[in-house]
């Protein structure tokens, strides 16, 4: 990819990140979210270390999931409403790449902060240090899948102005396996069982999503613009 082709992509990425920052640190939200969930769970279920440790990976994953989900609504919507989305098809821009960049910025804004601060959250939930590395690895492989699938769902529901509703319906069936394998890996580790099968499955899912989803998302966006 030569320089002139990369420039629009860089421009899009920079403006996405700038707008996220302008919005009072949109990447603050996932963190607030993470810690609120982490803080609320013990309040809800009582502060026993054993119980907390058991549910820690699940909780951190749910927090990551939700922080990504909350940001999905605006992923293409604001561009759609203000007329910048249709500009993607004016001339012959590589729309799939634009989609990938947008999803990348979604991941950077919502998932990365959660991953970076997972060690702190894990500490608060008494997760053993040894399991922490594995948990972060699953997050690193799994959250991009969330961004990809979420992006597809939000592209599909764009024109119907349905915001969250259908979105949830579409996302969950695709997301549940990721969650199962990820938390499964951590429990397996804690129980002393092998974790490689889980990780391989996750990687396979990621490769699959990465190769199929951007194409489908671009097509869905185009359909909605008509």
């Amino acid at each position: 990819m030569n320089r002139s082709k990369a420039q629009p992509l860089i421009a899009l990425l920079l403006s996405d990140l700038k707008r996220a920052r302008r919005h009072g640190g949109q990447s603050l939200l996932p963190l607030v979210f993470l810690f609120s969930v982490v803080a609320m769970i013990p309040l809800g279920i009582g502060p026993g270390p054993n119980l907390l440790q058991a549910i820690a990976p699940g909780m951190i994953w749910v927090a990551a999931l939700l922080s990504g989900l909350l940001a999905l609504d605006g992923l293409f919507k604001s561009d759609f409403d203000d007329g910048t989305l249709e500009q993607w098809w004016v001339g012959d821009q590589p729309v799939i790449r634009l989609v990938l960049v947008r999803l990348g910025s979604h991941w950077l804004i919502t998932a990365l902060p959660v991953i970076v601060l997972t060690p702190v959250a894990a500490q608060m939930l008494y997760l053993p240090n040894a399991a922490l590395g594995l948990l972060m690895l699953t997050l690193l492989i799994g959250t991009p899948i969330l961004s990809l699938v979420g992006g597809l769902a939000s592209a599909l529901t764009l024109g119907t102005r349905q915001g969250g509703a259908l979105l949830g319906l579409l996302i969950f069936p695709l997301i549940v396996p990721v969650l199962i394998f990820s938390t499964g890996a951590v429990s397996a580790f804690l129980d002393g069982l092998p974790v490689r099968p889980y990780l391989l499955l996750l990687v396979a899912l990621l490769v699959l999503a990465l190769s199929l989803v951007p194409l489908a998302t671009a097509a869905a966006l185009r359909l909605n613009i008509e």
Partner: protein, 253 residues
Amino acid sequence: MWTQIKLAFHKLGSPLIFYRFAQTLIPWLWGLTLITLAAGLYQALFVVPPDYQQGDSYRILYIHVPAAWQAMATYIVMTILATITLIWRIRTAEIMAMTAAPIGAAFTLICLVTGAIWGRPMWGTYWAWDARLTSMLVLLFVYLGIMGLYAAFDDRRQGARIASILILVGVVNIPIIHFSVEWWTTLHQGSTINLFGPSTMDASMLPPLIWMTVAVKLMFGALLLQRARNELLDQDQRKKWVLEALRMGGHDS
């Protein structure tokens, strides 16, 4: 009559008058802060005897408790300022309410950190999800929310008014913090110091606490006036009164 009161209010809120007021008061406040702080720290570290149970670790109390009280007092001051902001739209009140938030957040943070450090030897853990600790954490979030909301608006006056609404709503948390030890069974100990009756704390431990509390109050006053003054100058950079005020300041020195 009513209009007269209103007029007096607005005069008090005039940036230039506020600037002069702050300018004269700030050095005094800092001076008194240093004196009381020195007295309080000296007594806390060298005069009061070690506790028969806790040894020396309890001395952190002399930071923890004044900070906790100031965190709450700051919020109450902000509530009053926010009320003035919303009813009379006085600009200096807006600015003071907003500049007080980070100070309050800082004291809250100090309280949380010292509490956590103290908790380790006392309760065997840095943190627990009990009512007082949680409600204090909530206070920190409320402060952060106020700061975030204010920062999110392009028009600072609009931001100040909107954040003031949040201040008024968030004040509900203050009694919760204070009474949490009575309403729930908590790790945190109940009130031992009573302003209007006999305290259950040993009398010999009290004086440094009073000194420190006064010092922290004075420090808050100095910080608040200083920050508000700077914010005012910053916002009005190009206004006539600023040039005037700065010129006069120049003559003084």
